[in-house]
Symmetry: D3
Subunit: 248 residues, 6 copies
């Protein structure tokens, strides 16, 4: 069930038997010459929606803009400052906790969000630990779909080293499967993009990674692969969500 498609009475009924929710979070940033700018949102969103359909878990709205300051030298990339994203996640979690949700699971598609999401969790929990907030049970979890075991194994088997670390073949495949209109046939040069650290400002990032890719060859991507990554991602995420909501 998607929260956007439910009525409030349906959410009320859902809460009577489950207090867990999954929220996709991604980014709006360049993904090289053949990956769509929304890749990091499209991927976790596709997995989350499949989870909602198959398992009946409630899926919240997608946070489509993430922390992507290092991509700003490429047109179309958007960023929230970390402090802004912390505030967004704090308000979202507080709203959910107010309704009685106790397990909030963020299904993430963007490595650049990891630090900020974890900082946001700590920001919310600190209010409780300092005693400034009523102390109802609240559990928070970040799961990166791209780091799931099955997805990793599939990427390794399909691409080996050419998977890379940004604008990867796996995420471009999944984005293409989720949104077929985003398939692009582009010659990549060089085939394998350079590697290095992304912890830098946007100007430095573009100097290091001229077309936006990091270590990847997404010309290997295909929508067909994407369908398999979707299945792997759904299984990885469902396993992680199940462990989360059953562990006290």
């Amino acid at each position: 069930m998607r929260l956007q498609h439910a009525t409030w009475q349906e959410v009320e009924a859902y809460l009577a038997h489950s207090t867990g929710i999954i929220l996709p979070i991604g980014s709006t940033e360049q993904h090289g010459p053949n990956g769509p700018i929304g890749t990091d949102s499209l991927c976790p969103e596709a997995i989350a929606w499949a989870l909602g359909e198959r398992h009946g878990v409630l899926i919240g709205p997608t946070q489509a803009i993430g922390m992507a300051q290092h991509h700003l030298a490429f047109p179309g990339s958007l960023t929230l400052r970390p402090s802004t994203l912390v505030a967004v996640l704090r308000d979202t979690i507080e709203s959910l906790a107010h309704h009685g949700f106790t397990h909030v699971f963020f299904l993430n598609g963007h490595g650049g969000n990891i630090a900020t999401v974890n900082a946001a969790f700590a920001e919310v929990l600190a209010e409780r630990s300092l005693g400034r907030e009523a102390a109802g049970e609240l559990h928070l979890r970040l799961f990166n779909w791209f780091a799931g075991r099955r997805g990793r194994e599939l990427a390794e088997s399909l691409y080996g080293e050419a998977e890379g670390s940004h604008a990867t073949a796996s995420e471009v495949s999944l984005a293409w499967h989720a949104a077929p209109q985003t398939v692009r046939d582009v010659i990549l040069s060089p085939r394998l993009a350079p590697t290095g650290s992304a912890q830098c400002d946007a100007r430095t990032f573009r100097r290091r990674f001229p077309d936006g890719r990091m270590g990847s060859d997404p010309s290997l991507a295909s929508a067909e692969h994407g369908a398999r990554f979707l299945e792997a991602g759904v299984e990885d995420a469902w396993e992680a969500y199940q462990a989360f909501v059953t562990d006290r």
Copy 2:
């Protein structure tokens, strides 16, 4: 063209001939017994995507969570504090301005956002007016799809007074058209919801409006009506956008 589906090179090419962009903004909040929680996002999103397809204008990602504190007594409603939403819009606009966008047009589906969006515009412009920010051209506009002339006339002709002001027949129709899986057949009691002010806290709001509707009878809604509201909304919004980008 949707930003999420474009590559950065395509955005670069777009910027060579246009520096305007449309961003849908809505809310995640109860819409009465038969309206989906995502109504206020689904509506402007549907209009914006149609604009993107028909006119080639670039459509940014949807801001699905808005300022909806007064709806928090109904399960599933989410809110950003106004200060958080100001920060989100500031970072989004600054990112776009950094790439050279000069005309940022927010297509809004939620009355509760209006004050905060306008405050956010002033927050961004103040940095320029105080001389703390490079002074490139930047124009900002908020357009509420539900206040467009054609849409208003259609609602008047179809529903008269039963349109109401929240969980209206028109927006439920458009949401149903945009997301047919959200159609619900629910008996509303009373048919016409009470009227009053929404400028209050959530507890007071629920006391005033027990099932969430304000003055409306959305049992009159239909997906067929929604298709007509989409057309009206596309024409209203396109007219407004054209006036915005051509007026200096």
Copy 3:
């Protein structure tokens, strides 16, 4: 009774029979060649003080600086960032609520404040709706003196289209009546100022409105007119305040 002139025991006594208060809010910004910079504060302040004298309602201190970023290209204009004004209003309202005031009525003289004041109301109410704040009754209202029915009719009858939308003949009249030392005899050229949108940065505003006026001919203003606007404003505001405090 003006809060500034009362002792704390007198406020304590007032609270025993009324928990409503009126706070004037304005701006410090250019008002064209013959209007004082304090126009937007002088006007609601004069109306509020008359209300205090005639009806015994408690009048708080005037917030003399508002959101006026678009006027900063004219010497003497001051602005608070919207986020700052939100914080000011939040602290003011929280202080009043702490003493038991339940109805806080802002009497506003500046269109540029409207969005931010409403965002501030939502910021305060969100804390209550999220359950982070003790949930005593709290009602907030913004009333723009310049939009009252009687005042509008008087302006229409005296000036017609020459009233304009900034540095209007009506507000200059009322400011002159409230502070006779501000009367200026200035030749305006052109008589009727250009019209347009004020939602822009300061440089753009000054380019659009070279002497600061928007669509107005305040050479029609007079202190005598101002006395009549005071009466109209007092009646409009009192009616609105009465409706506010008696409506639950």
Copy 4:
């Protein structure tokens, strides 16, 4: 000249020969059984307005609400959080600096503001020292009217130890002179209020100082004394302002 009463052209002309300005800052807080709640604003405002009339210096709007958290257990007291007041002063100073003012002199009536005003000065200057702000000349000064030499000597001669440190005989006298309608004839018991520290929360403050006075006997106050304090204050403040604007 008062900024509120000037036109923008008059401010432009003023700036051609002086770039200094005086801003009164006070508080809205209890001042014992016979002192008005606005005492701390009325006093510096009266002195500032006299300076404006006698010496032609430009006088900005009064900041009527200050940092008064410790007075909140007495009805009618309002406070800004220190962080809010810092933001207000930052925006005010940045607006003035934008117009070319180089010497901003705050004439203060409230001891509780001192720390926060100085912190605000440092907040503004830090942006310049860190190189994040254009480095035009900017000088900031806080002057407490109640600490001026002439005023101190007059208080000593009139009241000796009975002057006290809050709701003092001198400030009540000056407030009564500035606003004759605030004169109250109240029996104080005990004549001399207890002494102690005000650096505490509001509950503790009220326990220490049951009627709000600190160490004072303001039954000694009179409007006639107030006229003399006004003269002393004008001379003290003018001397300080002159030293400020002439010292580089």
Copy 5:
């Protein structure tokens, strides 16, 4: 006892008989040609650690970076913005209050911190006074070691006017005693540094005080003097702390 060296069980035991704590706070900023950059932290830290050893009072970690924006034109100086330091002190105090500490005593080595520390105290107390925070007893005190009576007398007797107000002979002596590796033998020119106000930006500060000293001749300093300042400081601070924790 130093908090850094204790186990949590030892702190638990300490709280059973005392709820007071001392926290050194200083700065990291230039101290002229022969004073170490850490002077303002080394001095209160040395005094605090001696208090901990001699009297068993708990000593928290040193806040080594303070508000030093005016020193930023000298290499190595670091500053926190006042708003940042307020947040640091707020979180630190809230953490301590959460554990049951009721008397938090800051032993300060830097004049530039005074305003901000006092503003931070008010920021914390305001939450309690507004009723947004549980109202357990909480007392806060700032003590400047350099303003203690015994220390002042010793400096007067040793250096007279050559003590100065920044990079003073007394603080350099104490720093040298606390950290003997910081002793420097430098020819100062002029012997006595110029005097003036430090309330300015960094560029202006350096123009006024070319080598960083203000009015001082720290060539008079010696580690031997430092040992005497340590004794004076310990006595001054202990007296102040005792008065603080026994006064309700």
Copy 6:
């Protein structure tokens, strides 16, 4: 060279040949029954000071309080909210960048800091990527001493699984070596603490980990081991720092 012990002229000289600096960052939080509360600061501080002595690299002041909200149910633990720590690091880095430092290396002792430190880096870099900040070269790196290869191997060889993940045998050893007065002889029960996730509020953390340890048996710790961890840590950190400053 320690910044606290240097004069500004010495820093100026240092900058002529190196623009890199190392800053220790830790936490003030419980470390079980035999580990000092300052463990996470004492460890990186000891390594950093050794680096300063052996290699001449400049060592900044230690950030002793980190993000430790989950430890607040144990007396003596202090936390900064993530948003506060972000502000502290931002101001510290901006101060250093202002002086011309280009490579800022944080030597961290606390896993709970990792997310927030990385978010802070992004917060600083975002200003540059958005073009709001002059774009001088700036490189930021976080190195966790406890994750260095040599240290990991030593811990594995000495403790195997009994190393654990909080209040580990290795960090207690190093803290004891760095501060011999912190050695405690305590019977631990059970010898091996329970394991689990630390991403929770303080109440939950204490329920999961009753004496504060996570998976460790620090009764195996010794100051002698600590001397070996210091050597391993110095080599690990120096290697990482060298790679950082030489990689463009």
